[in-house]
Amino acid sequence: MGQYIVRRLLWVAFVLLLIVVITFLIFFVMPPTDPAVIFAGKQPTPELIAEVKRQFGLDRALPVQIVLFVKRVFLGDQYGWPGLGLSFNTRSALKPIILSRLLVTIQLALGAALVWVLLGIPIGILSALKPRSIFDRLAMGFALVGVSAPVFFLGPLFLYIFWFRFGLGGLGSGYYSIGQYGLGTWFTHFIGPWTVLALLYAAFYARMTRANLIETMAQDYIRTARAKGLSERRVVLKHGLRASLTPLVTMFGLDLGGLLGGAFITETVFNLKGIGAYAIKAVFSGDLYAIVDVTLIAGFFITFANLVVDIVYAFLDPRVRYS
């Protein structure tokens, strides 16, 4: 198992390197927003641009730039570790910006994850146990809405109903950290984003749980469990659910990993300064190092989540362990 993990970590490192290379390539191949120009300010003279380029190493060959970037990430730069560089827009260190943005996104992602697990899976279980009943039809109808209605529709709708119409100021948009505004304000301002973001995932999870559980309950080992005289509750939870959960755990890990890279629509609609919104900003302003940093972080979360999920799967399904 140890060997396996080491191999996988090396693979993670390789994938991240690839991400950095490709991001650089895309940046320099696409219609250029020359970072030097951005940095130099309004109406820069060619000499100024050349000077800026020299200072930031932008006049070097592309592979050299990439190597320098990677080196700084691992060894740190003048702003600390990891060396995330600086923003050409604000001309300040990227690390504190990114960390604070990441903090917001993590709060958003974890909260939404909790909501969608607590909402989606029980609904899926109840639907599976009473297929084609009224509850099942309503639940799957709700799931259909959740899967179809986009965040940029539900978000404003939520704000319109609760903040505007009902005047519940506490449910408005914006990020209010616990440290500065207290638990209550923080919480009420996250209800909207959590719910709206979780709805899509809850719908998926409800449908998946239902399908998995229905299929599992038709298996032979469920008949054996009943033949042993076990209570129906035990049959469903310990025998049925246990087997249907493994694909859900996999999905959860991957979903959360992806979400930690940023949920830019939700963040934009609810005015949360998360890393997703920052990514959009960086791309539109051509802020090279910011773009690469954000992409690298998202890539890291996803590949790492993949690794964790594979390990967890081996714990859950003993048949997988010996391959």
Partner: protein, 337 residues
Amino acid sequence: MPEPLLEVRDLRVHFPTEDGLVKAVDGVSFSLQPGETLGVVGESGSGKSVTFLTVMGLVTSDQAVIEGEVIFEGQDLLKLPKDEMRNIRGSKMSMVFQDPMTSLHPFYKVGYQIAEAILTHQSVGKKEAHEQSVEMLGRVGIPKPRERANQYPHEFSGGMRQRAMIAMALSLNPDMLIADEPTTALDVTVQAQILDLIDRLREEFNASVVIITHDLGVVAEHCDNIQVMYAGKIVEFGDRRDIYYGSHHPYTWGLLGSISRLDSASKERLQPIKGLPPSLIFVPPGCAFHPRCPYVFDRCRAEIPRLLPTDGHHASACHLTLSDKERIFNEEVMVRR
């Protein structure tokens, strides 16, 4: 005549489906004595499995229309509340199924699954239950049972898995063990081992055994009485000698004729029963077997034959006269064999 362990009276199990009412079991009556081994033989769709799933309470009135009586140790199981039935199921009567690979939960250790059955019905500690499950694995002939109890089903071979299932079924010392096609999913060589195991355990545990199979060869050595089923009804009932050396139903003759023999000339073709098993929604009128019967005559198409004793407890459901049956058996069936 002592009290029968199990007495089934006119059991009917009909499943309502979109295509119509499936009459899986349609008027089945028989009894099982303590210590007896009963073989139940029939094709897929004959109702043999559904009969015993209903006896076990695994087919309920939520899924099917059930009529008749199932009297086990003096109680009509069909009238029992679900909780009481759950107490009996797994402890007083237990069942082993066809495919042990899919019948065991892939995510739990084998010892755990056996101990779970014990813990459900007995108030013992977990350690004690685990010890009992290790002991049971030993009793069914699995070497190194302590190690095996800590393994998962996919680490066992097919024969061992079936042994483990049998261990699980016998762990609470039931009065009746129902084995539904216990050897069908196994290699031929392993089949014999499992059947011998069931024989041995029946004596050790003093249980009655029901072996459900489509294979007449399987029941030959291991069953006291044999019941042949077709289209939801019993068409013949008798002991070993009756069925093999003097059967009285064209379907049974067909089954006997389709057994391949080691000593037959290699050029001899197997004699299958012509035609296909009938739909259980649109069962043929009269005798359900009549479309496939080589000896059919008018009465067969109109009137359902009743299961009537021909001598002693040997009974068959066929309109042919006894002398005709005996003649046909001696002249045609015996010769073919």
